[in-house]
Symmetry: C2
Subunit: 360 residues, 2 copies
């Protein structure tokens, strides 16, 4: 592992220049990113990419387009981002790469999927993450809790940011944790639930961190959770709906995803636990009347998830899947509001965390 | 206008109790919220709801369901939110209202659209906004700039929040502006563009506020823009894609929307200006090669928008619509990145703002 992303790109360039000087066909070894090269590692409990590589050659009609795209993206990362100390979004990189090759009518890229793919390849070639190469994804989510960070020259106290909280940047690599008094982290998929817990000062009463996205768990959020866990040994609990999508969110944070298997090392957190909503909660907290009937797509998704290697042999999870099938329904976190607006803060969460009733 | 939301709900209750005592059919006057009662007011330049009202009666099979829903929501707002000093999301209110009428199998509400509608009616009846009734919508967006606010007992300096910025709460009614040094506001629909401007410290160099959502302009964001404009006379500039959707975003912020016509008074900002991307920018900044062909749905949307009353007689806007039709293409803000990653910060925005080249 090199310790500098710029160096890694330069050494890729030198390798190719050497190929040219020696009269060889310039080529890059790229790890294969198809499903056949992805497997679940029982020891680390992560979805990992295998070692199988294939050569991408310059003098090869089938390879040349991707070859040039990879180099173009490497050039942008080095010259326009790392050298300049600037970051770009995936969409920016697409526009920066979208130019016509002089003397031809051929664009280097026509579609963002091409630059996105080239950047993922560059992650594998350099062993630096997209974020370390200064390419950011979507910005999303808020955080509050007893934590002080330093970022871009500012000292930010996550416990003193009013009703809004800190807006999580898309790239959290440069954040430094100055003081972490909180004892654990609750991540929730819904910003409305975050606002509920924040108004009730749940993080203050329970000395924890509350962290949410709105819709999707971005890489920035996954990486922030991962850093809080790795650098400060904080347990991470997931609060999601009792539906296939909520469980999928948990699964991705825990073990990684097939698409980003090459990033599991830095993104997956095998020790995360599922706090709720569980099928048992439906009975315990009398939520049955808030059932939302499973649609065909939910049933299919449930079947898929229940066959994941890390769920297949888990009795507790198979039990949950069976409960969902028996209810033939999914349930939302907000159903707890039917028991009173602060029920989640005053009773549900303290009880669940107190009894350590969490799914692994 | 009453000065207390609780009082307004109590007086609704007293009115109904009086109806009962007097042996009358209890009824509520609700302003009609159909298209026929919405019109564009040329003087204020806002889409406004008319004065036409209809009575909603208790002893009326066609009215009873909505009548009860309105009262249920009024009870929740008064007893569970305002009295308790708590806020709830629209989804929470749905679950709180979703109970079976004793001795029957009838739920007060079956679907969130019913509570959403009842809350909008309650806004009209009480003349207090949903936010003032303590019901919040989605939380979204980030802000940075030379502004200090006080919120929930914290003092928050928007210029000292690292790369993330302040996460905008869904409800901004209680925020107090302590110090506003910034001279204007740029609102952009894309968080990635916000991160670009933030990394370049655009707000610091130009002494402005940068504010973004991710996807939709929530009521919280619209209200925050409105307050910055009304209380601190800051001009608001919109930075959006040159496509029908970007122009629609501008139109809603400026004049309001049909759905929320009853809120235009507090949400619409007729003086906002469209900063870009414009059709002229495509030529001036040589972006033509980044054309994205209009789809059928774009063409229809463009036709609709060009017929809006406030665009129909505007020569500058009709010119833009024609440019878009002639290009047969839309263009994204990020296309500017093809000219260099900081082109937007160093040249595009200073030039546009300097020349006051904005569409009204």
């Amino acid at each position: 592992m090199r310790n500098d992303a710029k160096e890694a790109i330069v050494s890729l360039g030198k390798k190719l220049a050497k190929d040219v000087e020696e009269g060889k066909n310039p080529s890059i070894d790229v790890t294969v990113r198809t499903l056949s090269n992805v497997s679940y590692d029982k020891k680390t409990k992560k979805l990992l990419l295998g070692e199988r590589k294939s050569a991408r050659e310059f003098f090869n009609l089938g390879h040349i387009r991707k070859f040039v795209q990879t180099l173009e993206v490497a050039k942008i990362a080095k010259k326009e981002l790392l050298d300049m100390g600037k970051h770009a979004s995936l969409r920016d990189v697409f526009y920066m790469a979208k130019r016509t090759i002089p003397g031809s009518k051929i664009n280097i890229v026509d579609d963002q999927t091409e630059t996105d793919g080239a950047i993922e390849d560059l992650e594998l070639i350099t062993r630096f993450s997209r974020e370390q190469l200064h390419v950011n994804a979507n910005k999303m989510g808020s955080v509050a809790g007893k934590v002080v960070v330093e970022d871009s020259g500012d000292t930010i106290d996550w416990s003193r940011l009013g009703s809004g909280g800190w807006s999580i940047p898309s790239n959290v690599e440069a954040i430094q944790f100055k003081k972490v008094s909180a004892k654990y982290v609750i991540y929730m998929e819904k910003a409305a639930v975050w606002e509920r817990l924040h108004e009730d000062k749940f993080w203050d009463k329970q000395n924890c961190i509350i962290l949410s996205s709105q819709g999707q768990t971005t890489r920035g959020i996954r990486r922030l959770l991962q850093r809080l866990h790795a650098e400060h040994s904080l347990p991470i609990y997931i609060l999601a709906d009792f539906d296939p999508y909520g469980i999928y969110i948990y699964s991705v944070i825990k073990s990684g995803s097939i698409n980003l298997a090459h990033m599991s090392e830095t993104l997956a957190i095998p020790s995360v636990k599922f706090l709720g909503i569980t099928g048992d909660d439906i009975n315990t907290y009398d939520l049955k009347k808030h059932a939302i009937k499973l649609k065909e797509v939910d049933i299919q998704r449930l079947k898929q998830i229940s066959e994941y290697e890390w769920f297949r042999n888990s009795k507790p999870w198979q039990r949950q899947f069976k409960l969902m099938k028996d209810f033939n329904a999914k349930f939302e976190i907000q159903a707890l509001s039917s028991r009173g607006i602060t029920f989640i803060t005053d009773r549900y969460l303290p009880e669940k965390i107190g009894k350590a009733e969490m799914l692994d």
